[in-house]
């Protein structure tokens, strides 16, 4: 009996010893808070898993923390309680807030330099990273999921209306023409849009190389003022408000609320984010074929079309962690920027790749041939090198400013205000918000 017991004990101890010594030192672990739900959440987890598998020194732990707003508020609350993560995904409207929080944020260029990671800002697509770099080209956050607006159109509807599906509208006047012809062919509405502020005001300004706000859209300083009440902008809103009466343009809600209008064939054309592609593939399956093209422009403006700006979110690194952990973050960012990872992500999700190498790789892999139209977004943002008007926006309180734009535009669509009045009011209210932000962050 005792002999058996001793043997068993010995075996157990031996096993423990073996297990103990084969264990390596714990990998440096970093926390990454994100707001990707549904299938995108799986994409995030796969990226983290891929990184963890590719090496043993570091571990990235991806945690879902709610919507963009909830994730940001959570990160702020955690920061105030000193329980914050290393990396947090912040939507583009939060850029100014993050940038102004100098003591809370560790800029990416600094992080990479300190960690000794090779980092060439020129390898990144200027139009994508431009949003998140300083005036002198230093990158502050790592672009992660970026998209840009494009024009989707119903090819079957075009055929029915006698229009050539290979020749979608290129200019705003053409949008009106095509819209009316489509309506004549029986479609209740010509076109609608998602995210009207992002598409019809912010991107409209960039696409036409006119300022959305002074001081290079806010890149030049907190004293910026809004400028989207110019005659050009007023003309657009006037035209659309006029078209709304006959539903050549039919407003379907903020955010993506109008998606059913396109999916169900009510509106034959639709201005929407390039990242909504997969959703439309699903939503229009078996109903009709659709094509993608660049956003329309006004042909009578000099220098059009310029390039479009991005939306989406980036990864910000928060201050207050140990250097060893920052090395882990830097290594993770290198992994994330690699052509293979970027190309795979781009093809999987429809978000833009952030490096030229990834774009080239995707081209070589024949992805764009197999999925026509998926390269429109890239070509659009790369159309011309960005100017001061088309690098992006850096405006404080942008969330509330967008609400103001939504409200005033809605008043215009409902015919309650003239276009000029609506935009003037929006600029006035928006400027108040900008001044507030300036005060709070001086």
């Amino acid at each position: 009996m005792t002999m058996h017991r001793m043997l068993l004990l010995g075996a157990l101890l031996g096993a423990l010893l073996v297990l103990g010594t084969t264990g390596t030192e714990a990998a440096t672990e970093i926390q990454w808070w994100h707001a990707m739900d549904g299938a995108l959440g799986e994409w995030v987890n796969d990226i983290a898993a891929g990184f963890n598998k590719s090496q043993t020194e570091y571990r990235v732990n991806a945690i879902y923390k709610g919507t963009y707003a909830q994730t940001m508020t959570g990160a702020i609350a955690a920061f105030r309680a000193k329980q914050h993560p290393h990396i947090v995904q912040v939507f583009e409207v939060g850029t100014a807030t993050m940038m102004a929080a100098k003591g809370a944020v560790k800029p990416v260029y600094e992080l990479m330099a300190e960690a000794g990671e090779k980092f060439d800002p020129n390898a990144y697509l200027a139009a994508v990273t431009g949003y998140y770099t300083t005036a002198d080209g230093k990158m502050l956050s790592m672009p992660f999921n970026s998209s840009t607006p494009v024009l989707y159109y119903n090819k079957d509807a075009f055929k029915k209306a006698g229009l050539d599906p290979a020749k979608p509208p290129r200019t705003w006047p053409e949008m009106g023409e095509y819209g009316k012809k489509l309506q004549a062919a029986g479609y209740p509405c010509g076109f609608s849009t998602q995210w009207q502020q992002w598409i019809l005001l912010e991107n409209y300004s960039a696409w036409h190389n006119v300022p959305f706000a002074t001081k290079a859209n806010g890149f030049g300083g907190l004293e910026t003022e809004l400028a989207f009440n110019s005659p050009l902008h007023v003309r657009l809103v006037e035209t659309l408000a006029e078209w709304q009466k006959a539903k050549t343009f039919d407003y379907g809600g903020r955010r993506g609320d109008a998606n059913p209008k396109f999916n169900n064939g009510e509106c034959a054309m639709f201005l929407a984010s390039s990242a909504a592609y997969a959703g439309f593939v699903q939503g229009t399956k078996g109903k009709f074929e659709f094509g993608i093209t660049m956003m329309p422009y006004r042909p009578d403006v000099q220098g059009v079309p310029q390039n479009s700006i991005i939306g989406g979110a980036t990864l910000w690194v928060l201050a207050g962690h140990k250097p060893a952990e920052y090395k882990a973050v830097a290594r993770f960012f290198t992994y994330l920027s690699s052509a293979e990872v970027q190309a795979a992500s781009h093809q999987r999700t429809g978000y833009l790749p952030i490096t030229l190498a990834a774009y080239e790789l995707t081209k070589r892999q024949g992805f764009y041939e197999k999925n026509p139209g998926t390269d429109i977004a890239i070509r659009q943002i790369n159309n011309k090198p960005p100017t001061d008007n088309s690098k992006g926006l850096r405006l404080g309180n942008l969330v509330q400013i967008r609400d103001v734009m939504d409200e005033e535009l809605e008043a215009a669509w409902a015919g309650k205000k003239t276009a000029k009045d609506a935009l003037e009011t929006a600029v006035k209210r928006g400027n108040e918000l900008l001044r507030q932000f300036e005060r709070a962050n001086r």
Partner: protein, 293 residues
């Protein structure tokens, strides 16, 4: 609070009330104080720079014409939602109290909606009312009524009232039912024997005996419409179109939680809290007189 008979112990009541009081002080009063204190500060989101600004946040608030507009929207929204939720629930509870066959079934179906996850409740209503694919929008179109709450502010407000009241009907129904069950049948039967009709029995006996529950529900429903409806409004209309559905609480959360303007939203919290406390005090002082204990 007019109990004639009370117990005269000294220490016991403090012991009984201590757990709730302690938790309230630590997890409510202290953080609430901090949150409200932010109303006199001007901060950036991360709290790195803080400045004391006195009543500036409040002044800014009241100088904003849209803020005053949201008072009106809130008043309409609160009255309509609370009124609808209470009236409908009372009717259903009275009916459910008396049927024998299928009672359990009715009660289950009428209370179950309260269990729908809040993240989804708003979305459900969007589905039903969507101008393109919503069933209710479709039916309304059939009846000759164009529905587009993205453009029509009145329709948006109507939709939000329905969505908010819906959730509360289940809640109110449950408590009305509990209250009705506690009324002794003997009283009702005696009145019937004395020749009182159904209507009289309800208004003379049942309703007064139900009044403590009704008072409870009125206060709670008002608080609900003032405070807990952010989620539904955000999911369904996000305060639009053109601020037609922006209630005080919506503006508060939008500015604070999403816009990260903590000073401004704290100032709004102070105002909102003052309003609701005022309303509650009024209810206790005047309504409670008519409650029959």
């Amino acid at each position: 609070m007019h109990k004639r008979v009370v117990f005269r112990h000294r220490l016991l009541p403090y012991l009984l009330i201590a757990p709730q009081l302690v938790i309230t002080l630590v997890f409510f009063v202290w953080p609430a104080g901090q949150a409200l204190f932010q109303s006199v500060l001007l901060q950036d989101a991360f709290g790195l720079t803080t400045r004391f600004v006195g009543t500036e946040n409040f002044q800014r608030l009241f100088a904003d014409a849209t803020y005053l507009h949201s008072f009106r929207v809130t008043a309409v929204f609160a009255a309509a939602t609370a009124g609808l939720a209470i009236a409908a629930a009372l009717l259903l509870a009275v009916m459910a109290d008396e049927v024998i066959k299928g009672a359990a079934g009715y009660k289950t179906f009428l209370v179950a909606p309260y269990a729908v996850a809040p993240a989804v409740a708003g979305v459900l209503w969007l589905f039903l009312f969507n101008p393109t694919v919503g069933i209710l929008a479709y039916l309304l179109r059939g009846a000759g009524y164009t529905w587009n709450h993205y453009l029509n502010g009145g329709q948006a407000l109507f939709m939000v009232i329905i969505a908010a009241a819906w959730k509360q009907i289940s809640y109110n129904f449950l408590f009305f039912l509990a209250g009705l069950q506690a009324i002794p049948r003997a009283m009702i039967e005696a009145a019937a024997i004395d020749g009182a009709g159904a209507g009289q029995r309800f208004w003379r006996i049942v309703f007064p005996l139900l009044s403590p529950t009704t008072f409870f529900l009125v206060v709670v429903n008002v608080v609900y419409t003032f405070f807990d409806t952010f989620g539904i409004i955000h999911a369904v209309t996000a305060g639009g179109p053109a601020k037609a559905t922006e209630t005080l609480v919506y503006k508060l959360f939008n500015d604070g939680f999403i816009g990260l303007d903590f000073g401004g939203s704290a100032a709004q919290s102070v105002v909102l809290m003052a309003i609701v406390i005022g309303l509650t005090v009024v209810q206790f002082r005047y309504l409670e007189r008519r409650v029959h204990y």
